[in-house]
């Protein structure tokens, strides 16, 4: 990009130096998209949370639970968390490699292509155009578009790696590489299908094989879309915000390689006790339990980075959010292996416990790491102060209390219903043979969950307000950051 890496003007400090200006505009785009889609995705979440205890909230064909649930999951995973990780990657990669992205055009293609995919998801899913495979519901033409956008993103990223001015890749970059490669493999593997018209396709594999491929994908979407890029985010933004180096370089090596190797094996734990062969689910369970350690390696490396800096939490809402985020990461990566153990899974599977577990990870880890990053980035991207630290602090508390209510309600609902399903009386008959009895019992918990989720959504609105006001009060047109490098 010759236009962006011009030699310094004669008379300036050092003629043998070169000024590299980073493309911060692409980060601004992704940050704004993250906040907007985050609000949309969580709003749909609140609506479907209301539809569960209050069926009258199902407003016709296009807005009924079955249509909106995949819209919610796709919006929060691929639109909210997706845009957040792209913001993190574009911001940190340029700085870690001391170079501008290889192609501004490809970065913009990635941004607008991704937003177009989100909009097409928001249109097709309410219309009932779906493959029904969880987190892979989009039909084949959109799947093709995802693959194209992802490949452009990958090419841009790897060519940026090639033109780097820093010999060694920092640990955040390792996690970005794992993300880009693995998501490509998973997406293509799980989307192999035979079209039967423009909006309909049938998957290449059937039954047991299709179930396996789906959860190989589904579990590793959690691993390589919601874990590895967020670990990369953590490794860059946490030390920056804490102004402390990462706790352990060796730990980062050990937990990176063990995490990327072990995660892929864990998928079949979603299929415990199903028609998938016993050996496969047992392998899945075993590797899931092993996964506990590499996951906690990341948590430990994150939390211990704050050694000697804990006092900073008093004044930094960014650090507070990161600490809650990493703590929830630790809790869900303990809970995950536990739920994969067959005896526990026998009780928890098919209940709201699983939903509670997913939200501990999504709201706690993905949400709070994203919020922390945005509050850290806004003043830097717009060269101004955050509009209101107080409002950000309110976001922290309303979000934290909201998600605690949410997960506790669903744990309680899940365990209650799971125990009722399997309850026998002394004569050997089901105590609750009528399924409805077990549903009525947990309806109060659905209301508590709605309250918790709504609080979390309110926090998201506070972030939107804070972001809007920060951008509005920024004095001038935002300036991209630049550094001096040897020419």
């Amino acid at each position: 990009m010759e236009s962006t890496q011009t030699p310094t003007q004669p008379g300036s400090a050092n003629p043998s130096r070169l000024t590299v200006t980073f493309d911060d505009q692409i980060t601004r785009y992704f940050v704004i998209a993250t906040a907007i889609w985050g609000f949309v995705g969580m709003l749909v979440g609140a609506i479907i949370a209301l539809q569960l205890p209050f069926w009258q909230a199902n407003l016709g064909e296009y807005l009924s639970f079955g249509r909106l649930r995949p819209l919610h999951t796709n919006a929060v995973i691929f639109a909210f968390a997706g845009n957040a990780i792209f913001a993190a990657i574009y911001y940190s990669t340029q700085r870690l490699l001391k170079t501008r992205m290889w192609s501004d055009g490809m970065s913009r293609f990635h941004f607008w292509g991704w937003q177009a995919i989100i909009v097409s998801a928001a249109l097709t899913l309410p219309l009932g155009i779906t493959t029904s495979k969880e987190y892979a519901e989009l039909e084949w033409p959109i799947d093709v578009a995802i693959a194209v956008v992802w490949v452009v993103f990958a090419i841009n990223f790897f060519l940026t790696l090639r033109q780097r001015r820093e010999k060694h890749m920092y640990v955040a970059i390792w996690f970005y590489i794992a993300t880009i490669v693995t998501i490509a493999v998973l997406h293509i593997g799980n989307s192999l299908a035979m079209p039967a018209g423009l909006f309909k396709s049938y998957p290449l594999f059937a039954g047991v094989q299709d179930a396996f491929i789906q959860w190989w994908y589904g579990h590793n979407a959690v691993a390589f879309f919601l874990t590895t890029p967020f670990l990369g985010l953590m490794y860059y933004f946490l030390p920056k915000a804490a102004e402390r180096p990462v706790f352990s370089y060796r730990l980062s090596i050990v937990h990176f390689w063990s995490l990327v190797f072990i995660y892929i094996w864990a998928g079949p734990h979603h299929l415990n006790y199903t028609a998938v062969p016993e050996w496969a689910v047992t392998l899945g369970m075993t590797f899931s339990v092993m996964l506990w350690m590499p996951s906690w390696g990341g948590m430990i490396n994150g939390l211990f980075t704050l050694r000697g800096a804990w006092h900073k939490l008093r004044d930094s809402v960014v650090l507070k959010m990161f600490v809650i985020g990493i703590t929830f990461y630790g809790m869900s990566t303990f809970e995950g292996p536990m739920l994969s153990v067959k005896t526990v899974n026998a009780l928890s599977h098919y209940t709201d416990w699983t939903v509670g577990h997913a939200h501990a990870g999504a709201l706690g880890w993905n949400g709070f790491m994203t919020f922390g990053m945005i509050y850290w980035l806004l003043p830097r991207l717009y060269r101004t102060e955050l509009w209101s630290g107080k409002l950000a602090n309110t976001h922290f508390w309303v979000g934290t209390i909201g998600m605690l209510l949410y997960v506790i309600a669903l744990y309680s609902a899940g365990v209650t219903q799971g125990l009722m399903w399997r309850a026998f009386d002394d004569a050997g008959r089901l105590i609750y043979p009528d399924f409805m009895e077990t549903v009525i019992q947990i309806i109060p918990m659905y209301w508590v969950r709605l309250v918790g989720g709504t609080m979390y959504l309110v926090g998201m609105v506070l972030l939107l307000v804070n972001m809007y006001m920060t951008i509005k009060t920024a004095k001038e047109k935002p300036v991209d950051a630049s550094i001096q490098v040897a020419s």
Binding site: G128, M169, V208, A211, I264, T274
Partner: protein, 230 residues
């Protein structure tokens, strides 16, 4: 650990080699999936076939696609686990061979409502029609959304042969004659269900409506196992 991972050791070297690093990462993530998936495809005994399990009829294929489009799988599983309480509640546990024509599989991951793996034959056709129109008319206190539009929207019978031939390319053993006559076969199965519903006091004129295809699919679920021969 410091003895075998040195800060200026071999790992430091590959941190400067993005291509090698990327290749190693790719190899790492390919191992698990490959080791688990290949035996599922190559070793036949992993998925023992069941003689009485046959492909879905043309109308059932259509009904299954409606089930998919409504997002039923969000709240209903189709997979009975081999536990005493589940067998008591839902029937015989699910076998690998029962799902060989399921594209996609619809086992689900959440039971907001009951499992449907063996709902076939459990209720009369009319029960399903009433239940979809207003779930609370058959199940008091149900949380399920109503699906009244299924009684209004019509099935595009002429689309069915294309669907069957896509499935055939993937391995479902439909004959060419079955595919050619699929629209007609579907119509006659639909007429039979619609007649049955009307004769029992239900609404008439459902023979080309989506609800009829959905009922055909639901009544098929899990019934192959109990067909003659087992």
């Amino acid at each position: 650990m410091s003895r075998f991972i040195k800060t200026d050791g071999r790992h430091r070297t590959i941190e400067g080699w993005p291509l090698v690093f990327t290749v190693l990462t790719t190899l790492c993530i390919l191992v698990g999936g490959t080791v688990q998936f290949l035996p599922l495809v190559l070793v036949e005994s992993n998925i023992p076939t069941i003689e009485t399990v046959t492909p879905y009829t043309p109308l059932e294929v259509e009904g299954r696609d409606i089930y998919i489009a409504q997002g039923c799988v969000s709240c209903h599983s189709q997979q009975i686990r081999p536990f005493r309480d589940e067998i008591e509640r839902y029937g015989e546990y699910s076998k690998p061979g029962e799902a060989i024509y399921d594209r996609p599989f619809l086992w689900g991951s959440k039971r907001t409502g009951p499992d449907l793996a063996r709902v076939g034959g459990k209720y009369p056709d009319l029960w399903h029609v009433r239940h979809m129109e207003n779930p609370r008319s058959t199940t008091p206190n149900s949380l399920m959304p109503p699906y009244p539009w299924l009684q209004e929207k019509t099935v595009d019978f002429d689309d069915i042969p294309g669907k069957l031939s896509a499935l055939k390319k993937l391995g479902t053993p439909y004959t060419d004659a079955e595919i050619d006559g699929a629209a007609q076969t579907a119509r006659s199965q639909a007429e039979q269900i619609a007649r049955n519903v009307a004769a029992n006091g239900g609404p008439s004129g459902l023979e080309d409506k989506e609800i009829t295809a959905l009922v055909a699919y639901l009544q098929r679920l899990g019934t192959d196992l109990s067909k003659a021969g087992n």
